[in-house]
């Protein structure tokens, strides 16, 4: 690694090197790191955004953890992980497993289409799906067409269905990404490995578990980190589709942070929830990295 350096320090540290990283770090420290530290401090206070901050210690945290609406919003986030992360990854793996040696003509076009949901604003995505789920939208018209009028309803207005149906939007956004990622990964696996498995008499299923899956470890970690963090953050989509409702049936922590800070003027409480969300994401990402760490 260090042989790749142009300049090595002669006798003492060359401080002018720091000038190169200075501009980037100024932006990063002022607009990311300082706000994080400030949020951390605010989380120990009671503050309405205008008057003096009042130090309350851990009170905001204990209050948040005792608040049923907040704990259930965290539960909702975990349900969304199933839709944003688990389903697309399973689907992507299944399809990648099927495509081991198939060369598909027109793959570039398929790839471009499957990747499309990744590039769009979640507000646009949310509006498209709001229409699909609307009382007189395509989904219900389709159900009516097949004589299933009893099933059709205002999906996003339903206490029982709104959360899984918002989750399905996440599945729609993510499944193309995991497919492309895993298919690209599968194509990098040396074909000798599959030949060797064939010689050993491995069937398609054992081939998948013994060759494909272990060699996709890197891609799986990437997909997990990417989709899990998005499922836990997820503000834009919830804001435009349900706003957390009906009631609090699709409420998630980031939506609570917004409501508490900007509608209820509970800045201290919102900050402590923000720190809790940060902690949750860091813990899950670390867990993913630890579980899938190379054991060599």
């Amino acid at each position: 690694m260090s042989t790749n350096k142009i300049y090595r320090p002669q006798t003492n540290i060359d401080y002018s090197s720091y000038l190169y990283i200075l501009p980037a770090f100024i932006f990063y420290l002022i607009f990311v790191f300082f706000p994080l530290a400030d949020t951390f401090y605010n989380s120990f206070t009671e503050w309405n955004g205008i008057s003096e901050k009042k130090w309350v210690g851990l009170e905001q945290y204990t209050k948040n953890l005792a608040n049923k609406k907040i704990t259930s919003s965290i539960k909702h986030s975990f349900i969304l992980i199933i839709f944003y992360s688990f389903l697309p990854i399973m689907l992507g793996l299944l399809i990648a497993g099927l495509m081991i040696r198939v060369k598909v003509r027109g793959m570039a076009t398929y790839r471009a289409i499957l990747f499309l949901p990744q590039i769009l604003s979640m507000i646009v995505v949310g509006i498209a799906w709001r229409w699909i789920y609307a009382p007189k939208g395509p989904l219900n018209s389709g159900l009516d067409f097949f004589g299933l009028e009893e099933v059709s309803r205002a999906w996003l207005g339903s206490f029982d269905y709104s959360l899984p149906f918002v989750g399905l939007i996440g599945t729609w956004v993510m499944f193309g990404f995991t497919m492309i990622l895993f298919i690209a990964g599968v194509q990098k696996i040396p074909s000798e490995l599959y030949d060797a498995a064939k010689v050993d008499g491995a069937g398609a299923i054992s081939e998948f578990f013994n060759v494909t899956l272990p060699n996709l470890k890197g891609e799986i970690v990437v997909a997990l980190v990417f989709t899990v963090t998005l499922a836990l953050r997820n503000f834009d989509l919830i804001y435009i589709t349900t706003g957390g409702g009906p009631g609090t049936s699709t409420m998630i922590p980031s939506m609570f942070i917004y409501k508490k800070a900007f509608q209820m003027n509970q800045v201290g409480s919102a900050s402590s929830l923000g720190i809790m969300l940060t902690f949750l994401i860091f813990t899950l990402v670390s867990l993913i990295l630890i579980i899938f760490r190379d054991k060599k």
Partner: protein, 275 residues
Amino acid sequence: MNYKNREKIIAHSIFLLGSIIVLYPFFSILFLALSEPGKRISGFTVPSGIYFDNFIKAWTDGGFSNGLFNSFVVVIGVVSITIFCSTLAAYAFEKLDIFGITPLFALLLIGLVLPYESIVISLYYTMKAYNLTNTYWALILPQIGLSIPFSIFWLRASFKSIPISLSEAAMIEGAGRLTILTKILIPQMIPAILTLTVLLFMWTWNEFLLALIMIQDADMRTAPLALSYFAGNKRYGDPAITAAAAIWVALPVLIMYIFLQRRFISGMVTGAVKE
């Protein structure tokens, strides 16, 4: 031979089905937006004709000329400053020996995972204290800070792939560090910088939460923010006009995607793997 053919048919069917699932929502709102104004389509029928009235109405009523302009200003500010700062920093990280590089890198790693939903409150009060809410600065400056960690990681990886011999030769001829960067390394980096530009453009264009909390003036709204007000406003409860508005907002990124799709995909797929 037969076996191979069967596999190919299965593969095509899977991709075709996947493509239809992805495209259905797009065509669904496109048909809706192109439908005859005031006439309800059920979403399961193909429209009888093409009408652009909804697009015109959305454009004039939603203030999208302002919204698109504001978004472009923010994108240009964020992309240019981020690329400038990150190139310098990535160069120093990869090619210069810096004391204390590991903790500095770890510090950046925090920014890569941090959910910025949790820090926007603090950003808002800071901006308010300096009277910067409702200005472009409130959108540009934090977005640069948030974009810098990924950009440095991305550019550092491509600096790494440039062989050291290139810069050594220049060094022997007495070229300084800045000259080596601008004359020798950056020309090699153009593809990587272009891909990063595309990704930053997309992320900045689609950014919503910062705009939602920093901007209260209707004139200062970015395109996605204008869209959310438009879609949420009961007065414009017509879903066909909302659909047209959504297409206006998606259009710049879509056009860019049509021409540069390989950069989008390779940027996000390999960028993610490199991390």
